[in-house]
Amino acid sequence: MIGADDLLALCKEALAEAGEAEAEICAVSRHRGFARFAVGELGQHMDIDEPLAAVRVAHGARVAEAGTSRLDRASLVRALRDAAEAARLVPETEGFPGFAGAGDALASPPRFESRTAHATAEERVAILAPAMGAIRAAGLVSAGALETTARAIAVATTRGCARAHEGTVASFKVWALETAGAGGAAGYGGHMHRDVTKLAVAEETERAVRVARLSCDPIALEAGTYDVVLEPPAIGELLEWLSMIAFGAPEMENGTSPLAGRIGERITGAGISLTEDPVDTSDLGFAAPFDREGTARRRVALVEDGVARAALYDRTYAARARTASTGSAMAPDASLAATIGPSALQLGGGDAASVDELVSGIERGLYVCRLHYVNGLLDPRRAVMTGLTRDGCFLVQKGRITRAVGNLRFTDSLLEGLARCDGRTRARSAVPTWGSDGATCAVPAVRLRDWRFNGKSQERAKLD
């Protein structure tokens, strides 16, 4: 993998050789060791390179982009020339302010750990062996993945922006299952850290086994409203969807964001604060300190005590909205789609000492470990979402978890649900999202009152 400094030097050389007056290169080099296991076997163990450079050239406000997977000078120069040719043909982009200059000094949160960057296939196998063995010994079926990723990113522009950064992510997720693929009892565990040697593999495996055992023989519960405790992976998935529909400047501009036209208004419960914090220096932080355009990232209060405060912008959308970029242009993916959104959304913690404390405040309700196939496009203005419970759903009676419940479908407004949130743990966890750039949500467990469930799942198909 090309290191960040070498990547930056390459970008500068290509800009100089291409000779375009207004140009930008964002180059990413990512190497992933990915060991994916299922049915008790390590069946997909992969060594993956993901090189990508996105270059933009502007002629006035006419902007075009080209991308290449080849991180050498000749390929970058060719991409710059392709973009330049296209830029002559496209209409102007209203509000385009030019590419970034040298900009502010960067924060330097800790992000890199060489033990993750240099993890070998043998080391990944050695980490997984006891986890898979423990699940087999418990009479359950294992599945999951261990990822060790190193990433370098560099941004250079003809206006003097020159940024380089390296980071690592180690991620472990594990399932203990009653059946390999037919559903039934399941338990999940997961942990992210920049240092692969600090992953809580044994603890998370033990948790998956424990939850799977508790999940056996579920009762069927009728649809209706229930008080719920959502573990971090569950609330994290809901907030990931909120990230996609709520905080980006395009959704503010077209009016579909629940924040559009409501900055300064209460949109959810008092006490709920959502913050984009890409410069978090704790173990919850994974984001690069600058965005795809080279803008220094900063902490942005999106929702404070339930009041909408701000959205996220890249340079062009910010210029049109007469504000400053928040450094929220996401790193390019293979389609080079221009995405604006959080890379490190955080939900503020509360004062509950534990999940048990949250559960103890429920007379009759549900404890939900994880969600499945959430979709937040039902009514984005109200953040109405649907999805199902997965990998552990339990009945709570008189403040105690009593027995497993068959999976249920919910359909409810997340913002209205958070308005009914009356408990959050102090402790928070990083939950990986599907976004690029090592995006995460850092969230506590939460207690929501009267969450609406409208269906049951895992009813076995009946044979004729």
Partner: protein, 496 residues
């Protein structure tokens, strides 16, 4: 075929990699796959060029089956040293992983495949001037925005992908394939005085409007011809009544039948999911092997086929990424569940031949079982949508998907659509917004009592089907005619 992207396979390097793999005594099988993807993404939003992008990606994937299990590596380098290096790394991974294997992966040999496949393309989209394509997008956006408030935002897009693929295996397979894919559509967003928003899209939801073919397909889509209808409907939705909750007879237009197939037939018939190897992303399947040939999946009129030969389908090819030739097979025949989408490894676990569905998303991903064109055969009795409406005394017609969700064994699904129409005695009597329907897969398909005929059958293309870990997206197809389902639970997605 002309291409703006470098695409020539590095023949000597690929051969050198293959020979390196053959030298190892513990290599049972190896495949070397060169892939060059060229993509053009054009988006005009509110008269601005939101995205004007061309990107090229190429490299070599290596998958090796050692004594016990697989190893995968890849390289963006096209020289001999890079490709051989990837073979060595893949082999090292296979050996390291083998220490955890409880049994050798079953992988029966098969005859070598040889030949080439090229998408039928009448007009090369990459030869059309950029400004011409942008003008095709600008015109409908301008026309939509010209309608004024409450229409707030309009967007049109055109995506083109050309993929060159060369596959060499230690069994002697040697195939070359060139694909051209496109997608083209538009959407409008209206915002009411109360801040409520509605969306209307054409020809269907963004991501469901793909095809395999060339620029000749653009004229047939003709966005401008639909501007007045799309604008009128998105504005009318703002004042439409929400779908009342209840149990109704439901009619789905063909693209919604396509998405219903995708989620409730395509994915659950993937044999890797059924056997449990996709748990770390999307879960398993209720269609377990013991149900093969026994489960009544749908009504007797329901025939669902996996057809990787359908002309123009996004899931059409010559061979899959394991060298298995394309073909057409029933997954559901006369309502009975009869087969899976499978790979050579998973099919062997059931003592069956592969149905040839392994495909990878680019050069840096391993092949997975992916849908091909999974389609509902048109009704034998034929008939138009109008005839089906006339045959419906009291029902609801759903058009154009808006949200989708299904459980981790693919039983409990819930969809909302952009628009629904209440049908009384064959007439569309009122528009309904935020329309939701939900059900349990086999119960739903068993309630199907009418499928329109070939004249209403259309092959849709999904450009964004996600699967795998790390995530892969794939082009897949779904052919369908409108169909009717009796006694379905409906409600309002906005009334939660």
């Amino acid at each position: 075929m002309a291409s703006p992207f470098e695409s020539e396979a590095p023949e000597a390097a690929l051969r050198a990699g293959l020979e390196r793999a053959k030298r190892e005594r513990d290599v049972r099988y190896a495949e070397i796959r060169f892939v060059a993807d060229g993509m053009e993404r054009l988006r005009v939003r509110d008269l601005r060029p939101e995205q004007v992008t061309r990107t090229a990606s190429r490299g070599v994937a290596v998958r090796v089956l050692g004594d016990k299990t697989w190893g995968f590596s890849c390289t963006p380098g096209l020289d001999e040293e890079s490709v051989v290096g990837a073979v060595v790394r893949a082999l090292a991974i296979a050996r390291a992983s083998g220490s955890l294997a409880t049994r050798p992966v079953p992988f029966p040999p098969r005859p070598a495949s040889r030949g080439s496949y090229t998408s039928p393309v009448a007009i090369d989209p990459f030869a059309i001037p950029l400004e011409q394509k942008l003008a095709v997008l600008d015109a409908p956006v301008r026309a939509l925005l010209g309608k004024g408030k409450p229409l707030r935002s309009a967007e049109a897009w055109m995506d083109w992908t050309r993929t060159h693929k060369r596959l060499l295996t230690t069994e002697g397979t040697d195939v070359t394939q060139t694909f051209t894919y496109g997608a083209h559509g538009m959407q409008a967003i209206a915002v009411g005085d109360d801040g409520a928003t509605q969306r209307r899209s054409f020809p269907t939801w963004q991501g469901g409007d793909g095809f395999q073919g060339g620029y000749e397909r653009v004229a047939g889509i003709d966005l401008l011809s639909q501007v007045d209808r799309v604008a009128a409907e998105v504005v009318a939705l703002l004042s439409a009544e929400p779908m009342p909750a209840g149990t109704r007879d439901v009619l789905l237009e063909s693209s919604q039948v396509g998405l219903q197939i995708h989620e409730s037939c395509g994915h659950p018939t993937e044999l890797d999911r059924a056997l449990g190897t996709e748990i770390s992303l999307a879960g398993g399947s209720f269609l377990q092997p013991e149900l093969l040939g026994k489960l009544r999946y749908g009504a007797p009129i329901v025939d669902l086929v996996a057809d990787s030969t359908s002309p123009g389908g996004m899931g059409t090819f010559g061979w899959d990424d394991e060298g298995v030739p394309a073909g057409k097979r029933h997954l559901v025949r006369e309502g009975s569940f009869v087969d899976y989408l499978s790979s050579r490894e998973t099919a062997a676990a059931l003592g069956r031949p592969s149905t040839g569905t392994m495909r990878a998303d680019g050069w840096n991903r391993t092949p997975l079982i992916r849908m091909v064109n999974v389609s509902l055969e048109p009704g034998a009795a034929g008939g138009t949508l109008d005839a089906l409406l006339n045959d419906t005394a009291d029902g609801v017609l759903f058009e154009t998907d808006k949200s989708w969700s299904i459980d981790d064994v693919r039983l409990n699904f819930q969809f909302t659509c952009e628009v629904a129409w209440e049908i009384r005695h064959g007439k569309r009597v009122r528009m309904l917004r935020d329309a939701l329907y939900t059900g349990i897969t086999p119960r739903f398909w068993r309630s199907c009592d009418a499928i329109c005929g070939p004249e209403e059958w259309r092959l849709w293309g999904v450009t964004t089907c996600g699967k795998g870990d790390p995530m892969q997206t794939m082009q897949v197809g779904h052919g369908a005619a409108p169909a009717r389902f009796r006694g379905v639970t409906v409600g309002s997605g906005g009334a939660a």
